[in-house]
């Protein structure tokens, strides 16, 4: 196109409208105006009297203060909008050129829609070629007419509409060679995992990852809202601490000026101090660091811990009820408000929907042992449950009660930490409990010993150096209320709720013994 016939577009003074002026020669007449985000034809008489010329502006259009064009979200493209001319900003997910047509799939977070550029009245052959050559993952602005389709498009989230493109602009271009192909990311096999981990800026773009992390955000929000409604106070606890709280083996050491310090394994000690400080009910959300060299599908070295601690009045079952009610409210909130996300994840990772009972089922440890023995497992009364046994028990409970979430109460005292309160009626057992989702443990909690003397005795029984935990014991010397609590891992809860198989899928930037970046 001859350069001097290109229109020169600028904003008229004291007008919010765009007006396109012809640059050509002495022709200073307004040829077109922009109303409501739509650029009308710019008509210019050429020397031989030809009529309209369609112009495609390459590059970005700068709008004055308020945009005249409204961008429609992809998930709003439904048959109701058929026939409308709309603007959409999305990424090019795939493009496929076939002679006079180019099929594009435009993707926006979890949703995608098919779009078509065809040679015809509105598009030239060059435009089709231009569209086909835009690099994948580039962000484009598209003006198109929404058209209803008879045959549903299975591969897209918007299955009954298609866009017929009239104008297309590139907003931000992606490099031609991507470190991974996003279609590979949505395939169910596991080989994509390693590569996906490395290109963390790209991996979460997939519709599935979007859904997973939105759901995770929902879990965190429901946790906070439910507890705040119950009168809990959110606290922040320090992560650099002077002494290992749970035992020295699994802590990370950091150099702290002239000495060393440790990264907190759990906010246990500080939660309890807050209870002694009469906060009554507290919770905290923050990172937890465990230096365990376990390369399993469900362990991370750093994860987000959601911890609860509360004082109770007469029986530690009040604590269990409070925690299970919080979990049930979270499950209900996810079931009611995040169905789209659950379905999206289910397309790539199909699983059974998560089932639960309200109020939560509570079984006693001895009952669990009896159920396992009935199923043929041999184990002692005071033996801890191994992971395969936990899974088997989960299946038995699911079979009988049809629930994926339950509490196992009254664990044997011998397998619990030193600060667990023993059962007053039977000294082999303790007032402690574990909660399971889909047969895997998500929470380990107990009533804590709030009497300094009993705590000292139990610590000595476990051969713990009293000097190291002196400040911990001291916090109970000045009248501590009876209390208990527990903590869950956000990533693990999401993984088990959705029925995924690796906790790294629910951690945006996972940390394990072999992975330190991104």
């Amino acid at each position: 196109m001859a350069r001097d016939s290109l229109p020169y577009v600028w904003v008229e003074s004291d007008s919010a409208k765009w007006v396109a002026h012809c640059h050509r020669g002495a022709c200073n007449v307004k040829h077109a105006s922009v109303t409501q985000g739509k650029v009308e034809f710019i008509c210019h008489k050429t020397e031989n009297g030809a009529t309209s010329t369609q112009v495609f502006l390459k590059g970005t259009l700068f709008f004055p203060c308020e945009p005249d064009r409204g961008l429609v979200r992809v998930h709003e493209l439904t048959p109701e909008k058929a026939g409308q001319l709309i603007w959409v900003r999305a990424r090019i997910h795939t493009s496929r050129a076939k002679g006079k047509q180019c099929f594009l799939v435009l993707r926006q977070q979890q949703f995608n829609v098919q779009a078509l550029v065809a040679v015809g009245e509105r598009a030239s052959k060059q435009m089709v070629k231009f569209a086909a050559n835009i690099n994948k993952e580039s962000i484009v602005d598209v003006e198109a007419v929404v058209k209803k389709v008879e045959q549903t498009i299975e591969s897209c989230s918007q299955q009954d509409v298609e866009l017929h493109i009239e104008r297309i602009f590139v907003v931000s271009q992606a490099e031609p060679r991507l470190p991974l192909q996003l279609e590979d990311c949505v395939r169910p096999e596991g080989e994509g995992d390693e590569v996906r981990m490395r290109a963390r800026a790209l991996g979460p773009r997939t519709t599935t990852s979007q859904a997973i992390f939105r759901l995770q955000s929902g879990v965190c929000q429901l946790f906070r809202d439910t507890l705040t409604n119950k009168g809990f106070v959110e606290i922040q606890t320090p992560k650099i601490i002077s002494a290992a709280s749970e035992g020295g083996a699994n802590v990370f050491t950091v150099s702290y000026f002239k000495t060393s310090a440790y990264l907190a394994q759990s906010p246990q000690l500080y939660k309890q101090m807050c209870i002694c400080a009469d906060f009554d009910k507290v919770f905290c959300v923050g990172p937890v660091f465990r230096a365990e060299d376990s390369n399993t599908h469900r362990h991370l070295t750093e994860f987000v811990g959601l911890d609860i601690e509360l004082a109770f009045n007469y029986h530690y079952h009040e604590v269990i009820e409070s925690i299970t009610d919080t979990m049930v409210q979270i499950f209900k909130g996810l079931r009611d408000k995040f169905q789209t996300e659950i379905q999206t994840v289910g397309k790539q990772y199909p699983s059974e929907p998560f089932k639960f009972l309200e109020p939560t089922l509570r079984l006693e440890y001895s009952e669990g042992v009896a159920m396992l023995r009935e199923a043929g497992v041999e184990m002692g009364d005071e033996e801890d449950l191994s992971t395969p046994n936990e899974k088997l028990l989960g299946r038995l409970v699911k079979e009988k009660y049809d629930t994926d979430f339950y509490v196992l109460d009254k664990y044997p005292l011998a397998v619990r930490p030193f600060y667990t309160m023993p059962d007053p009626n039977d000294k082999k057992y303790s007032n402690s409990y574990d909660m399971f989702m889909r047969g895997e443990e998500i929470l380990s909690g107990a009533q804590r010993i709030h009497d300094a003397q009993l705590l000292t005795e139990r610590a000595m029984h476990h051969n713990i150096d009293l000097e190291k935990i002196k400040s911990y014991i001291d916090s109970f010397r000045y009248g501590a209320p009876p209390h208990g609590g527990g903590g869950i891992g956000l990533e693990r809860v999401c993984m088990l709720y959705l029925g995924l198989h690796n906790v790294r899928q629910t951690s945006m930037f996972p940390r394990d013994p072999k992975r330190l970046t991104p």
Binding site: H315, K332, L357, P359, E374, Y401, T403, N425
Partner: protein, 322 residues
């Protein structure tokens, strides 16, 4: 008023030899262990005349006897209208402590359900809140009288909400419910979106039992044995099936036919099968009242309904019939 104190002349530590040829009477002045008695006797903090205390004790005994007589008379009045009830169940619980036969031991459960391995024997029932199983609620009440039952109600995630009376249908929570081991039997009712009522008991040894009629038969056998006479047992079973299939789920014609059959059978005998209340009566009662109010039934049926109510077992079903 201050008086001149005289030192004791006669010491009180002299032992007297009581003669052995006389028979001994219990000391009528001594404090009795009855709680009411001691409160009365220590009025104003001082010891009261023993004869007075004696009188109070006699009065308490007479009052108690009076109440018992009144209760017995009330019971008799009800038994006149209720055939073959030995004693009115609603009144017995007030006056006397439960008799020895009403609480069966664990040995009975062991013989009926198999040896327990240390786990609470938990009966799990999945029911649809749109069709609450009234028969099972009545049987649950009967089970609670025979055994120590831990009852709990849960709502499954497939159902979004359940009215409050369905959550409270098994009665208030037992005080001991925090220790599951102290109970002989568990009864867990789960409101779930199921097409047919389902019961699960032992995963390893039993398949699930479906249908309210069948679960009712299972639970009834824990309460009382089926009649040993096969003809009678078949009669009970046939009435139970009639109740659930034709009365509860049948068309209007089938229902009126069943009511006529009931009317005929109850004209001859006071209960549907045999000389006593049986599962047949329980099932028919619940199904009849679920289909329509008592007033619309034939005369014999109405009389029988009243007799059932007087027995006092059907309390749990009533709030759900409204």
């Amino acid at each position: 008023m201050p008086m001149y104190q005289v030192k004791p002349v006669f010491g009180d530590d002299i032992k007297t030899d009581l003669p052995t040829c006389m028979y001994k009477l219990p000391n009528i002045h001594a404090q009795r262990s009855a709680s009411g008695c001691s409160e009365h006797a220590l009025q104003n903090g001082t010891e009261v005349d023993p004869a007075f205390r004696d009188l109070e004790v006699r009065q308490d005994k007479i009052m108690r006897r009076l109440y018992e007589l009144k209760a017995a008379v009330d019971g008799l009045a009800k038994t006149v209208t209720t055939p073959d009830a030995d004693l009115d169940q609603t009144v017995t619980s007030l006056s006397q402590s439960p008799t020895a036969t009403s609480f069966r031991g664990t040995a009975d459960l062991d013989s009926l359900l198999g040896k327990d391995l240390g786990a609470l024997r938990d009966i799990v029932i999945n029911a649809n809140p749109a069709r609450p199983p009234l028969t099972l609620l009545v049987l649950h009440a009967m089970l609670c009288q025979r055994y120590r039952v831990l009852s709990s109600v849960h709502v499954h995630s497939s159902v979004s909400g359940v009215p409050a009376q369905l959550l409270a249908c098994l009665g208030p929570r037992h005080a001991d419910s925090y220790v599951r081991q102290r109970f002989q039997l568990g009864f867990t009712l789960i409101w779930k979106d199921v097409s047919k009522l389902q019961m699960k008991f032992s995963i390893q040894n039993m398949c699930p039992i479906e249908g309210e009629a069948n679960v009712a038969r299972f639970l009834f056998r824990l309460v009382a044995p089926y009649p040993s006479d096969p003809a009678l047992a078949t009669l009970v079973d046939s009435w139970v099936d009639t109740a659930f299939f034709q009365l509860a789920e049948g068309s209007a014609k089938e229902r009126s036919a069943v009511l006529r059959a009931l009317n005929g059978a109850l004209g001859r005998d006071p209960w549907l099968a045999g000389p006593e209340l049986s599962l047949a009566d329980i099932a028919c009662y619940c199904c009849v009242l679920q289909t329509g109010p008592a007033a619309s039934c034939p005369a014999n049926v109405q009389r029988w309904l009243k007799a059932c109510e007087n027995l006092g077992h059907f309390g749990p079903a009533n709030p759900l019939l409204q």
